[in-house]
Subunit: 324 residues, 2 copies
Amino acid sequence: MMGSMRNNPLSLLNINSKVAILSHVSPDGDSLGSLIALGLAIKKLCDEVCIFRNDIFPGKYKFLPEYQQVEEYKEDQPQIFDFCFILDCGDAKRLGYSEVILNKSKKIINIDHHVSNTEFGDINLLDTNASSTCEMVYNLLKDFQLPLDKDIATCLYTGIATDTGNFVYDNTTAYTHQVVADLMGFHIDLHKISYHLYQNKPLSSVKLLAHVLNHMEICFDGKVAIITVEDELLKSFNISSNDVDGVINYARDIEGIEIAILLKENTNKEVKVGFRAKKDVDVSLLAGKFGGGGHKKASGAAIEGTIEEVRKKLEEQITIDLGW
Amino acid sequence: MMGSMRNNPLSLLNINSKVAILSHVSPDGDSLGSLIALGLAIKKLCDEVCIFRNDIFPGKYKFLPEYQQVEEYKEDQPQIFDFCFILDCGDAKRLGYSEVILNKSKKIINIDHHVSNTEFGDINLLDTNASSTCEMVYNLLKDFQLPLDKDIATCLYTGIATDTGNFVYDNTTAYTHQVVADLMGFHIDLHKISYHLYQNKPLSSVKLLAHVLNHMEICFDGKVAIITVEDELLKSFNISSNDVDGVINYARDIEGIEIAILLKENTNKEVKVGFRAKKDVDVSLLAGKFGGGGHKKASGAAIEGTIEEVRKKLEEQITIDLGW
């Protein structure tokens, strides 16, 4: 699964290297896990390491060790970086306002497992067979014989667990479980991690889940489920837009559903769309038609128009692409 | 984690041994997985092997390989068995009507991971550190150098995955992941297993979930969630009483909730009550007060009265026991 890497980017670093590490907006377990894990690891090698965020740090992930070391990037920061590691980010545009760091970096190292990666780095380390970017970071550290510790293991575990739907999705391999067995050997607190990931849901988000499942629409002969979340709804449940993303999985998991779609009102002129597929449909193609991307079974796009207009466009595209 | 076993019960068998294999009523993934896995393995060693069920085989698990080989036990069956393997069964009473097989068996081999096991066998192979009975069966087969195959691996994986809440519960260890890595090496169809276990929910059950979460009551300063399911409700959603049990986990997983309670109208005079705890509360004690039992974090009881009466009794008991 992993031979010795001829070009392990960690071998480029020395104690004086100035390093930036960043990941995508709308952070998830894999982006945050890989960000902090690699950050903590590189801090063992270099004196000047900045771990940047370009979005709000989600409260749900504030159990991650050393998460306070993740700094907010400010556009007027003057630093020039020798190396910039970009994690779990298929496209430089997903860096949000931290994209400007690319111009302030001498060497950009792009580490990702998304099929749709645009190879925007000077070095592109892409492994679409890896379950997660955290699994790739694990490989890098192991290959470099950089000793892991409980904090790094906790971050890597979190990314692998969340990106595999807790070892359910097709990206889970025998090797993934081997990696996790090794990580658990560092005495990570599985109970604490599971509590924060799965057993600490705000009541309001559970009530919102109930609401959207009640109002979910099933179309295309029971093959497509559509969940619509207007700004007003989020306000009335007092929930942030990012915190609603998980509801799409409940729609996907219904008998007969092949595609689940989540439509989130973003601005008056744009709708954020999440796609999930269950079996044969490749929703990265569908997202791609609208300028988005992602994985075969999980993808997303931002589409111009009102919710109703976007919905119509999607239904038309599904009919064209799949003959439904 | 597992040395060579001095007394592997498989070493007692020869080609002429008559073997019965059974497990508990209200079967789950671990009981069915271990039942079929050990059954298929012993069929490689002995000519006369009966794999018995003592309950309806749940439709959800009919993806398990060779599940048709699981026979219904009929009380008037005349066989005498040289060996009877009992799997995942803490108490002989949980064998239901198949308990009579014990009297027809020369040697009873009790293989289980429950703390509460009553050691009713002639040989008792108990490992409370094992994630599941399937993990124990894996150890037995490996120790006996009995080659696994895809079918056996599929059954063992299913039991381990379901009994660990998909690798989330505290019983999950580094060794559990090592075992799963090995099982996945037999090219089990993870997608098919996950689909049947998690992605094939009837729409009606998802709609019922939405309904009960909408109507769930939170009391005791946000520490207790109560879900009430009347007979009428099940009828209107066309769902069987057993299929509603999972909703209690959604209540437990809410921030601040320490105890989740599911009240199911059973008959006019009785309410079936399910309890889930998150952290420190031991709900087996609470269930015990009403003649029920179970684990610290999951228990149940059948309590006389109407839903309103039972609810009052429970609230009073919680106040007495916990001072809430």
